[in-house]
Amino acid sequence: MLKQYSFEKTAVQTFDDKTSLAIKTEDLQVFYGQNHAMFDANLAFPKNQITALIGASGSGKSTYLRSLNRMNDGIATVTGKIWYHGVNINEPGVNIYEIRRHIGMVFQRPNPFAKSIRENIVYALRANGLKKKAELEERVEQSLKGAALWDEVKDNLDKSALSLSGGQQQRLCIARSIAMAPDVLLLDEPCSALDPISTVKVEETLLELQKKYSIIIVTHNMQQASRISSQCAFFHLGHVMEYVPTGTMFSNPQIPVTQDYIAGSFG
């Protein structure tokens, strides 16, 4: 039996120093047709930190994440405001392709293109007008180093990306995203399809990356959230229930629903 929790009682932190924020949503709601999937999400994400979104399956965390760079366009209706550098990017006139260049995304299943490793990284760069060969090579190296993949693949850049292992593929996807020089990186359960060793590698990569990027990661692995994130938000049935520093979330959850979830006596 699923316990009934009140959606009235929430604990969501706010930030006073507005310049330190990477992205922020106001009253974000998501509808799949008639289905109301996300209710009034008001969250702000600090720069150069890792924020983890946790919650059970169907809690709306992925839906929320995909709304941030407008990946839900054409799939769901998203209302409310998403503030990014002082611009509400949840507006019709906004160039969604520009947004996605600035707010990169990595998905649950590694999805490298069926191209060579190099081509995976340079394809989108070239499409964006970067033509100089030396510069492209530079980006390939930098981003692969950033994703901690360089040493493993540097001699085989022309090999098919599909020949890499799952963990390598996922890091390639991260490299591909950071090659675009975004400032926010969204990750949707990036390790759920990976083995533990690969997971550790990806986590190390992320910890390194937060120096340069603001990272928002959806995970259902609470150990992972506690290992890598500074802030942690808990989603339940389309509601943001608690948003506090990660230490607080795991040692001293504020409201009953989070307490039960953390303790594993949920539902």
Partner: protein, 295 residues
């Protein structure tokens, strides 16, 4: 009768059916090849047809068939590619899309003779282009479009959603994603479909009798300027294809060896179609390997 015995009988019956189906195919192939191949020679393949009796070689018809095929593909592949992309990527799930889909279905289920007569009405009667390669190619395009479109849409849709998301999440436009990311992955399926449809187009006759015409004037194979009347590339000349030739030799042919002639032409046609089939398989597998594995 007990169940075991019924089971055995049914199995035997089905085996017999399968044997007869296989037998039919082998009979057909063996018949065409044994009846036709002895009459196939280099001079038959390249020689000119005697306009009066229909005797002689099939050089011009063979060329016409290929030329018509190439023209048809040049017109129909880009259009069905665009239409396939529309259906796979842009079409929303609403009544308009389902109307479009049924229109395509209707087009694909039209008898080819109706398509041919429409071509006749439009190009020969209305536009007064006359029986010509271009009329034939466009009629064949009508006939080819729905199948190719569906094949392309299916191949594109079969590519994982995650590939699209990968492209979009990098800030690529939908179009660029479709063309640069999805299309290469879908290419093996698309190419297979195109080559298979080429086989169908190559063997089609009913749609061509009244569009490309039933005469194959001897052309000057030294003249490759498409604007010259005698040039084989001139899209305005009438062009009897191999398949139409077979039909004509059978119904109209006066040559004393009409049966041998049409058998030989049929053998050539069948071999061409078999090659298309085989080519589709090999090319499909090759491209699939190329796209997925290392280069």
């Amino acid at each position: 009768m007990n169940a075991k015995r019924t089971d055995l009988l049914a199995t035997i019956l089905i085996d017999l059916i399968v044997a007869s189906v296989v037998g039919i195919l082998f009979f057909l192939l063996a018949y065409i090849l044994t009846a036709g191949l002895p009459h196939v020679s280099w001079s038959f393949l390249t020689g000119a047809t005697d306009a009066f009796s229909g005797a002689g070689g099939i050089g011009v018809q063979l060329f016409n068939s290929f030329y018509l095929l190439v023209l048809t593909m040049l017109i129909s592949v880009p259009i069905s590619l665009g239409a396939g992309i529309y259906l796979a990527e842009y079409a929303k799930d609403n009544w308009r899309t389902s109307l479009i889909r049924s229109a395509i279905e209707v087009l694909s289920s039209l008898p080819s003779v109706v398509v041919g007569l429409f071509g006749f009405l439009l190009f020969v009667v209305k536009f007064k282009i006359g029986f010509s390669v271009i009329s034939g190619a466009i009629a064949l395009t009508f006939f080819n479009l729905p199948l190719l479109t569906r094949n392309i849409e299916e191949s594109l849709s079969a590519v994982s959603r995650s590939q699209r998301e990968a492209g979009l999440s990098l800030g690529l436009s939908k179009w660029k994603t479709e063309i640069g990311i999805i299309l290469p992955v879908a290419l093996p399926g698309i190419v297979t479909g195109i080559v298979l449809s080429a086989g169908r187009v190559f063997g089609e006759a009913a749609a061509l009798i009244y569009t490309a015409g039933q005469s194959a004037p001897v052309t000057n194979f030294a003249d490759w300027n498409p604007m010259d009347a005698a040039s084989p590339l001139n899209p305005l000349r009438p062009a009897e294809t191999l398949a139409v030739h077979i039909w004509k030799v059978n119904t109209e042919g006066l040559a004393s060896n009409a049966a041998a002639l049409s058998a030989a032409a049929s053998a050539v046609l069948i071999i061409a179609v078999l090659l298309f089939n085989l080519g589709a398989r090999l090319l499909g597998t090759y491209l699939y390997r190329r796209v997925t594995a290392s280069k």
